[in-house]
């Protein structure tokens, strides 16, 4: 090698090396959960946008919704992974292509010939027993699956532009307990991926997925799995026992945490942070609750379905020597099925294409008399199906419609969420993946809020106004997602900091949510407001900020612009840290109220909002926790 080559190489790599200081990490926003027309359900919902279109959308280009309107992002994303369902990957497009063998199958012709929405649903229903492996599978053609997977990988490689836009390779492992108890997770690869994805058709037991990931990692292809919609898991996502019902042990905890460092806290099908029944003292717990098992009207058991409770269970298992299988960080994603995430309440298109394409179909806009009659017939027909078919018995019946005049649909409880945030050294596959492994991640309910948290001993309040805050905090403390080794007799310090989304409402408050396990093994939680908008101070008796009088006019959706904060930051010391008690701490930053998408739909259609739906929403951001370890 000549000296010149060496010099060039040194010059090329010098800027990269210089960026490796943790204080230079940047908050990158992205999408880690997205379905294109290659997912069996998305194609049936009318989506014809492939992975290339999905990446173009992420980079800021407008693409078309199945019903014809344009979808475009307010601000382009920094990174994205296309995550189509691995089972039946690419099969439905092949069924619609009459040159393939599979298109001759009666299920395929049923799908192709479906004209109306209800025929579409019927044809979809005919396919479900195949995907649920309840009948002998003469549909699946693995050659189609493998070549589709290759196309997906190539599309990601085409769009990956290190430093500017990162396209990651991934897919969804769509598992469940017996039927609809959602155990779905997305598998994301650090770089390249193997020739065939591990799907539920191979095994529904997630432990086998993790073992496969271990083996693929040993071949040099690292990956992580991110579970989602624990809210619809009927308690199975964060259970006390394994998939087969065996007690959880240390080996299980290690296997799980090695492969699942993150969980999706919020997405279009609801938010899984906490259920108000579990945390009656959390005034902000009733947020975008989606109470059903996925694709059914069957209620999902609360216990074992929500994240805060899982964190507490994890600490309890750890105390019993079982390891902590629930020591995961947080992230959000959209789970859109139209190749384009809807993140803004005022520009919402939900996720299942033709099925929920407008305010009426989403139950947000009042129906006319004729539409009401049609809806009634549809409802009666559904009752009949539900009462007379096995499939129907499993999916259950809708409760009594609390808002006659509006369609009653599961997707009324869905929302314009969520967005992934990572603190990465650079915008590259490796840096983003490594940040996910470190759990230095956060999730939002849609807006581009940024949040930081550090914990340590001797972190000082005056650093908050120091331009070197982040550098000092990294030197003396640990960031979100990390463990803090407890020092006996001392209470840890926290520095928390959040900024608003310039395109959404200002911030109202910043909270620290703490959970811990006492000497008797009992779990507790407490929520502390730590910074209030408008310079107000936290009331000592309640640990809450005073009301900042932010209001929304639900007739126009205009909101207060004169109250609220552009950024909030605080130094906080745990007033209740007890020696020997392990704990977790995470930040929740809350915006002033704005209109929920359903109210926007109603305002635009000049309709009354659906009285059974929340009219306003307080968008929020959640950081990964820091765990205090003794």
């Amino acid at each position: 090698m000549t000296i010149r080559t060496w010099l060039t190489a040194a010059l090329l790599f010098a800027p990269l090396a210089a960026q490796a200081a943790p204080e230079d990490r940047k908050a990158l926003f992205g999408e880690t959960h997205l379905h294109t027309n290659l997912s069996f359900d998305a194609f049936i919902f009318g989506n014809r946008n492939g992975p290339d279109a999905a990446y173009e959308f992420a980079k800021g280009k407008a693409i078309t919704h199945p019903s014809g309107f344009e979808m475009k992002m307010r601000v382009p994303l920094d990174f994205q992974a296309v995550t189509d369902h691995a089972m039946y990957l690419g099969m439905v497009p092949a069924m619609f292509d009459e040159t393939t063998k599979v298109s001759q199958h009666p299920v395929a012709s049923g799908l192709r010939n479906a004209k109306s929405a209800s025929e579409r649903r019927g044809a979809f229903g005919a396919m479900m027993p195949y995907i649920g492996q309840q009948v002998e599978d003469d549909l699946l053609d693995m050659d189609i699956v493998r070549s589709t997977w290759e196309d997906i990988k190539q599309s990601a490689n085409r769009h990956n532009d290190p430093g500017k836009f990162t396209a990651m390779i991934g897919y969804e492992y769509t598992s469940s307990q017996n039927t609809f108890e959602n155990l779905h997770r997305n598998v994301l690869f650090r770089g390249d991926a193997p020739a065939e994805p591990f799907s539920r058709l191979i095994s529904k037991n997630p432990e086998n997925l993790w073992r496969w990931m271990d083996s693929v990692r040993a071949r040099g292809m690292d990956s992580i799995a991110i579970p989602h919609n624990s809210n619809g898991s009927d308690g199975y996502m964060f259970d006390d026992v394994t998939y087969d019902g065996a007690p959880i042990d240390k080996a299980y905890s290690e296997l799980r945490m090695r492969n699942e460092p993150l969980v999706e806290i919020s997405q279009v099908k609801g938010t899984s942070e906490v259920h108000p029944m579990q945390s009656p003292n959390d005034e902000f717990a009733a947020f975008e609750i989606m109470p059903y098992q996925i694709a059914t009207w069957a209620p999902s058991r609360v216990q074992g379905s929500y994240i805060r409770d899982a964190y507490k269970r994890g600490l309890q298992m750890q105390a019993r020597g079982k390891g902590n299988p629930y020591k995961f960080g947080l992230i959000s994603a959209s789970d859109t099925h139209v190749s384009a995430g809807a993140f803004d309440e005022y520009d919402y298109w939900s996720k299942i294409g033709l099925v929920d394409a407008n305010g009426r179909l989403r139950g947000a806009v009042r129906l006319s008399w004729t539409q009401r009659l049609g809806a009634q017939i549809f409802r009666m027909r559904n009752w009949w199906i539900q009462a007379n078919t096995i499939e129907g018995a499993r999916t259950g019946n809708p409760p009594k419609n609390p808002a006659p005049g509006f369609l009653q649909m599961q997707w009324s409880s869905w929302g314009a969420s969520g967005l992934a945030g990572v603190w990465a050294d650079e915008n590259t596959r490796g840096s983003i993946f490594d940040a996910m492994r470190r759990k230095e991640t956060f999730g939002t309910s849609g807006p581009r809020m940024r949040v930081r948290m550090f914990a340590g001993y001797g972190l000082q309040a005056k650093w908050l106004d120091d331009a070197q805050l982040v550098k000092k905090a990294y030197q003396r403390g640990v960031p979100m997602g990390a463990d803090l080794k407890a020092r006996e007799g001392k209470s840890p310090d926290f520095l928390v900091w959040a900024t608003r989304d310039p395109g959404s409402a200002p911030l109202q408050r910043l909270q620290i949510v703490k959970g811990w396990v006492d000497g008797e093994g009992k779990a507790h939680e407490k929520i502390y407001d730590v910074a209030c908008a408008g310079g107000a101070s936290v009331e000592a008796s309640t640990n809450r900020c005073p009301d900042n009088n932010a209001v929304v006019d639900t007739k126009t959706c205009a909101y207060s612009a004169d109250t609220g904060a552009d950024e909030l930051k605080a130094h906080w010391q745990d007033p209740q840290s007890t020696a020997g008690e392990n704990a977790f701490y995470y930040v929740r930053g809350i915006e002033n109220p704005t209109c929920r998408w359903s109210t926007w739909d109603a305002v635009r259609a000049d309709s009354l909002p659906n009285p059974s739906l929340a009219k306003t929403i307080q968008e929020r951001v959640w950081s990964s926790p820091i765990w205090l370890e003794h």
Binding site: K26, A27, V75, P76, D97, E98, T99, R450, R452, L464, D465, D466, A467, Q468, L469, V470, W497, A498, T499, R500, P502, D566, E567
Partner: protein, 277 residues
């Protein structure tokens, strides 16, 4: 009765008609046979063998060759039967495929020829603006908690050694310095008003040093523009290759449109009126 039949057989006209029908039947049958003949000749076999070789990288043995030919015969018969039954008429896939092939011809028939340098240069002159690089700024900022603090910081930063600017002001969650950023990128991060002020070419310039305060979506900032990259007019030589590519694409597009117009003009489209109810 017997007599009647006998007289009929004696009638020449009947014989004539019967003979005619017979000839007609023979002719029909032989035509059918011709139509139902499948020719297997050497060029065809060579083609089948070449396809086989392409996939397997070896020549077929005798048995495999038989199977290839038999497979061809089977396909050919099924295709002919399908055509005879008119199955190709209403088939969406076949219609689409046929249409695609003609579209393909429209492209193929008009391969764009590269213009000479003068022609390309002329085209470049006409489309200049699309190739210019927009104004970009390399800039830094100091974030203050309010307007008053920002004013106070301005005197401090102007009086101190230039390299120490990072020690001033409040910490900022996003970057404190950005390299060659255009106005759209800046407004997406800092808000449109802030970006408009920064790009007005008067407030913040390299000559002005630290100026402000300027309001962003997050609060008040002192700003310094280190470099302002004015609109960089594209140079013909530097982008000649891209220009040639774009030019060719454009010519192809226009030619295809023209060819389509010609085709369309050859057809009369008749709208069938809907009767009023």
């Amino acid at each position: 009765m017997k007599q009647k039949l006998g007289s009929l057989l004696r009638d020449r006209l009947v014989w004539f008609v019967a003979l005619g029908l017979g000839l007609f039947a023979i002719d029909y049958a032989s035509e059918r046979r011709l139509e139902n003949r499948i020719l297997i000749d050497l060029p065809l076999v060579e083609k089948l063998v070449a396809q086989w070789e392409g996939q397997t990288k070896r020549r077929p043995n005798a048995q495999e060759l038989d199977a290839l030919v038999e497979g061809y015969i089977r396909e050919e018969i099924l295709v002919r039967e399908a055509r005879r039954l008119g199955l190709d008429d209403e088939d969406v896939i076949i219609r689409r495929r046929l249409a695609q092939k003609v579209e393909f011809f429209l492209d193929e028939n008009n391969p764009p020829e590269l213009p000479d340098k003068a022609g390309l240069q002329k085209w470049f002159e006409q489309n200049r603006a699309a190739y210019d690089t927009p104004v970009k700024l390399t800039w830094r900022h100091i974030y203050a908690s309010d307007e008053a603090e920002a004013r106070a910081l301005l005197t401090r930063v102007q009086g101190m050694e230039a390299k120490n600017w990072r020690s001033l002001g409040q910490p900022f969650m996003l970057n404190r310095a950005y390299t060659s950023q255009d106005q759209l990128e800046m407004s997406q991060i800092m808000g449109a008003d802030f970006a408009a002020t920064m790009f007005d070419g008067k407030t913040a310039t390299p000559a002005n040093g630290w100026v402000g305060p300027v309001r962003s979506a997050y609060g008040w900032h002192l700003v310094a523009v280190d470099t302002r990259y004015e609109i960089r007019a594209a140079r013909f030589e530097a982008i000649a290759e891209k220009l040639a590519r774009d030019w060719a694409n454009e010519q192809a597009r226009v030619a295809k449109l023209e060819a389509w117009r010609e085709l369309r003009a050859g057809y009369e489209i008749e709208l069938v009126p809907v009767e009023a109810p």
